[in-house]
Point group: D3
Chain length 210, copies 6
């Protein structure tokens, strides 16, 4: 287990290799779509991202070939993830990551894994959501929420009243159930747009919240 | 095969049973969420639905507990399904149904199966999208489009450059690829919101386009 | 959601396309097998089909290259689906469709979906069996019956005494359990014969019971 | 690897245990169904089994609660497995076992595994069909046949023209394709009837062809 | 059902075919790896195998290209399968076969199926472990043990405290749980080494314990 | 996307929560197994770990209830991961993580994800192995290696000569193929031991190589 020494002689000559994320901020998707001029609203929004986050998330740049699509995505995202809800922002991000882990989506796991680390102040919680949420020490509320979201992701046709009843049993309201479903649904959408286009996360996410 | 005679004596006494869809227009979801007052925009949109379709789709009523969510949904839906695109409206509806068939979503199969029947004027095409798109006699373009959409639905983590190349090979542009992914992604979202809430389609859909 | 207008301009020029079912009554399977002369029994049976149903189901024509195979199929089918049983004919057809939905069999879903619509007088019930039986409002008896049939279809190796006990608990006798298993088993056979040969359902089924 | 010594001391005291197959010839299924009087035809058939095989296969006893069902089963079985066909009897039995292996059906694996051992005179061939047909050294014809049968078993909805073409490419006629499909379909039926009823194979099969 | 007669005329001319296991003792894997000189320890161990079993298991010959790998394998194997444990040797072999059945590993099913037959003196028990352990008449202890081992094999990410609690409930200690996990884990390793290299079992196993 | 502000007001009051990894270094597994006295060899090995790594990996502490098991594990691990091989140490760790990602094993993903980050000097490469190796920009050699290892993990029964041929085609020798299989097999074992016992990784891994 002396494996951690960086250059222990191996049978295969190490070559300097570029970072696996080297091009992630320059080739954001594998589709060649020209950016459209930003509408005033979207220009303001991008400026706000730069100011608050220090960068514009690559998903927004990916959608920026069409202002209608970009605006619709931003409106839905901001409502789901940031508007008042019975779910905390951390809970919504935990759903985002657990769903994206089922779908093995590189973009969403990197970006929202960082969000879980930051919102919780607990880096291993972010790792656990990425790796296997079942191994995390969660409250009954969190566990029921993620069970519902992941079953809805994996086998939506099996979700029935008894699944909703399990959410109620740990205190979620019907409105909360909607929000869990809507967030889980949303990431089932974005996971697929990201995978279909080979969308790459901003490199800065990798170091956030460590 | 005299099975089609409606009341052939059987060992089990038939009872009058209510239609399996009896309550579909009155109990739209199993969540108790009070409708919010419609915003002027949404009131106008509902009126337009009544005028053009003769009814307001139940999914809109389901979202109408919150005007922000309703507006965001409508904006995204209308852009994806109705705005100009390299994909015809029928093609977009075919994707909607093939994705919903994988996810076995009652609401979306009923509503969008009707749309395929109507847009194509070919009821069996709607049935085939619901039952197994692989059994339909499709053009290479349609087949490639649905293969991509359904793989993206079933195993998004396996979608790679060679999948995009197959779309290009039958003439889809990168923008078309985005649209296929976005429509497939959107129904992966709505299938889950519908399944999570037991959303019921307007009964009128069942007879449309037959 | 103005999508229901049949010729709303789209970016992709609509072409007149032949019905997806255009050849379903002329090329019944993709195997080239010459029909054998009908035996007297089978000729009489075909005549009876014409008289009672107005047509000969395509599956019978598909088997008609060999009288022994046709007779054996007809004997087993008629016993299972039409003979006295603790299961009503509608219940047997519901099993047929739920099994065929799991196996996504075009022929059986069309033909037996029509049977459910006709026997129940409730078109949405037929749709629900095709789309997702779990979304239907079923009696406990019906639900237990379909759960057993679909589990037996999907993972027969997991069926054990507790599954049989669930049937007993809602009032099924051991003989009824046999019949549920036999009908589910039969459609697991025919689904595969139909899929293997690309068997096409009579076009008339699509409109029956709507 | 001295593990073969039968009573090497272990931490857990060995008890005399009854054979796992002890009751297989007395409690043939877990359903309590009274045998019906054998019809003359079936009585003759049972007598012929006793004469040729030395016993009546348990599956026949299981069906013997109803002469119509028994006769239909026997007619279909004998046609499929014993009538002239482009497939040899061994090939049909290989399909039977490979399908039953996918479905993990105890009855069919025991009974038809014995048939493969006997017809081939090669016990390991029987084991390979039970365990993993892909590990067997098969001819291209046999391999293509089993690939088709097992795909049809596992994912019938994916079987298409290119699968049929693979059979043609190794010399199978369309009639042979029907027979492969019909045998594979038949065991998908019987596997499920056997699993649903916990059907037990005659104990004598275990030693046949070793 | 006269199928058991070895040369009943069939439509396809039987050819003398070599045994499917013909080369199993000469081409042990499909990798060309030269045996290394046996170390004194390993030479002694091979001699002991010859003496006690009458042969050297092929898996040992497969590892014998490298004495370090062979020694490590033997050390782990002998500890797990032969050292004192709360699990009997038969129980450990039952786990070996049930795990290998899930993974459909020819080598391990043949070698350890023989071990179950020999240690139990009950050939059908060996068959049941290979075919479907759920069909065996097992004690609650054995059943719980195999349920744990097979779930751990199929979906290790779902194993949680309630699974361990089920083992405790039938009397297993925490040390026993470790041993069940370790044996199940070990065969998940060897199944994969065997499948990756097409490892072939000694032909003698096929007849052992019949 | 102002989500990154740590305490933005949400509808759900944040509580101070302990780290999800709080107890990972004190309750290493959920089994209560008393540590045995370290043998001299193992004491020396633990001391070497402390010296080289700064800590003893929790997996070793988990095995330390039994010196035979611990020694066998260490011998096999060190040979596989550290001995000379045609595979570089980084390649072996990449296999470890890709396999563990399929099996969603918290312990192995944390410990070996850290190793990939450290050996490569490229943190995103570690993330990609955890999340979805298919999204990484890999050499053909690396890609073929991981495809083989993950197929062997997911569906070992499908691995055949053409899979080995793909390794040869990118330059792997038969000995390399063994090593790929052996490393993939080993982590299929340890993933299961870790999941079965809820093994927790040393907290220090989370920060290594970031």
């Amino acid at each position: 287990m002396a494996k951690r020494t960086k250059k222990a002689g191996s049978g295969y000559p190490a070559k300097a290799r570029p970072s696996a994320a080297a091009a992630d901020d320059t080739t954001i998707t594998s589709l060649k779509l020209l950016p459209a001029p930003l509408s005033p609203d979207m220009a303001a929004y991008f400026a706000k991202c730069e100011e608050k986050l220090g960068f514009v998330p690559n998903v927004l740049k990916a959608y920026a070939f069409d202002m209608t699509k970009l605006s619709a995505f931003v409106a839905m995202y901001n409502d789901l993830m940031l508007a008042p809800s019975g779910l905390s922002k951390l809970e919504r991000e935990m759903i985002a990551v657990a769903v994206s882990a089922h779908n093995r989506c590189y973009y969403c796991l990197v970006a929202h894994g960082a969000a879980v680390r930051q919102l919780s102040g607990d880096p291993p919680l972010g790792e656990l959501m990425v790796m296997n949420y079942r191994a995390a020490r969660l409250s009954k509320r969190e566990r029921a929420m993620l069970e519902f979201a992941v079953k809805l992701t994996a086998e939506p046709w099996l979700v029935e009243e008894e699944d909703r009843a399990r959410l109620r049993a740990v205190g979620f309201s019907d409105r909360d159930t909607w929000d869990i479903a809507a967030v889980a649904g949303f990431f089932n959408m974005t996971n697929r747009v990201a995978s279909a286009t080979d969308m790459r996360p901003n490199r800065v996410y990798h170091r956030q919240g460590r």
